[in-house]
């Protein structure tokens, strides 16, 4: 893919000169910086705290958990194209199938909001795939699932679990940004596609 190609426009199917292209040009800084966010996460200056292979695996998992979409297909291809991580594609697909559910759910702080608590899947990587994925990715996929479906359940113990699995504090920050950014990117693409379809 050419680096100058805007990834959201590509995934949303926005053609140059189209009505949505013109609308998006009015938020040029947001458009350019969503693109810079993508590039900073997937073509970083420094990947020592969170490897490119790990980034590709987590991205395929997170986007796959949202169901089939052009975004999920894009990150699945990205994983397949990563020399080091391609061997994980089958394991990631299997874990996506095990992890799919509907969110957001989770618990609020104990008090008046507790009546809104909603139970749901507490995802853990299957025992049979732990060896292939390794402890860092096992911890990352479990935390990514929490971030996708039940972010309000997050607790300080989850940070300790990542640190114990070998993640640095800086690695946790970039990993959290990657999952959170994908949550944004998936929704912008989905929203723009829906708007384009409704205007066709």
């Amino acid at each position: 893919m050419m680096p100058t190609e805007d990834i959201i426009d590509t995934l949303a199917g926005i053609e140059p000169g189209s009505a949505l292209d013109v609308i998006r040009a009015r938020r040029l800084q947001a458009r350019e910086n969503a693109q810079k966010s993508y590039r900073s996460l997937f073509e970083p200056i420094d990947a020592s705290d969170f490897s490119l292979a790990e980034r590709a695996a987590v991205a395929a998992f997170v986007t796959g958990l949202h169901g089939e979409s052009p975004v999920a297909a894009f990150y699945r291809e990205k994983l397949a194209a990563n020399a080091e991580a391609a061997r994980l594609a089958e394991a990631i697909d299997a874990e996506i199938a095990r992890g799919r559910t509907s969110g957001p759910y989770g618990a609020f702080p104990a008090g008046p909001l507790s009546i809104e608590n909603k139970a749901g899947l507490i995802y853990r990587v299957s025992a049979e795939r732990k060896a292939a994925l390794g402890p860092r990715l096992v911890a990352a996929l479990e935390h990514a699932h929490l971030l996708v479906f039940r972010p309000r359940d997050a607790a300080s113990a989850d940070m300790k679990a990542l640190l114990a699995a070998g993640w640095s504090t800086t690695g946790i920050v970039t990993f959290s940004q990657l999952v959170a950014f994908l949550s944004f990117q998936l929704r912008v693409v989905s929203g723009l596609r829906a708007l384009a379809a409704a205007s066709a």
């Binding site: 938020r27 969503a34 810079k36 940070m159 970039t174 989905s190 829906a194």
Partner: protein, 191 residues
């Protein structure tokens, strides 16, 4: 941490935020970090000194955020962009984010009581046709799998939004699915 006094309800009050992992000490910030912070004053915030551990991502995230919410040259009124942020935060369960953006929504709309009803009753509160459409669209976007579709667009159009304004709803609500996940998972609010 013994100093944390977590809020147990959604509120428009000003809250603090306490990190669960170590922000960079202010003394260790370099020019690369200050570029990531965008506003130098953010060096005083634990949240931003934590995120600045990855300065390039923080810089791009901050500039995306600012344009989506503060660029009011055209498109959706600021109040309704803040409403989308507050509704998303209410639905995902981010008490901290909801407090900030509910306050902004109140300031710009002068409808503080309606905003408070969103916080108290949740995303089903009846806030009138236009706000209901914005809240419903934000909720549909926040769901996983994403539930936003032609019905949301038809409803937003019936409420008077044009396509540029609908794009602002999409951007604002989508951005808070980014922000909520950071605020909820890297630390906690404190009264």
């Amino acid at each position: 941490m013994s100093t944390v006094n977590p809020p147990v309800v959604f509120t428009q009050d000003e809250l603090g935020w306490v990190s669960w992992i170590d922000p960079l000490p202010e003394a260790e910030l370099t020019e690369r970090h200050y570029a990531g912070l965008v506003d130098r004053a953010r060096a005083k915030s634990d949240y931003f000194r934590l995120l600045v551990r990855d300065p390039e991502v923080l810089e791009a995230r901050t500039k995306t955020d600012k344009d989506i919410f503060y660029n009011v040259a055209d498109g959706l009124p600021r109040a309704e962009r803040e409403l989308a942020a507050a509704a998303t935060s209410r639905y995902n369960g981010c008490i901290y984010c909801a407090s900030v953006h509910a306050r902004f929504a109140s300031t710009y709309s002068r409808r503080r009581e309606d905003v408070q009803r969103l916080l108290d009753e949740g995303v089903g509160a009846d806030l009138g046709e236009r706000w209901n459409a914005v809240v419903k669209a934000s909720v549909a976007l926040a769901a996983t799998p994403i539930a936003f579709g032609p019905d949301n667009i038809a409803e937003l159009r019936r409420a008077g939004l044009d396509d540029a304004e609908i794009v602002d709803v999409i951007n604002g609500a989508s951005f808070f699915n980014w922000a909520n996940r950071l605020m909820l998972s890297l630390g906690e609010p404190s009264k």
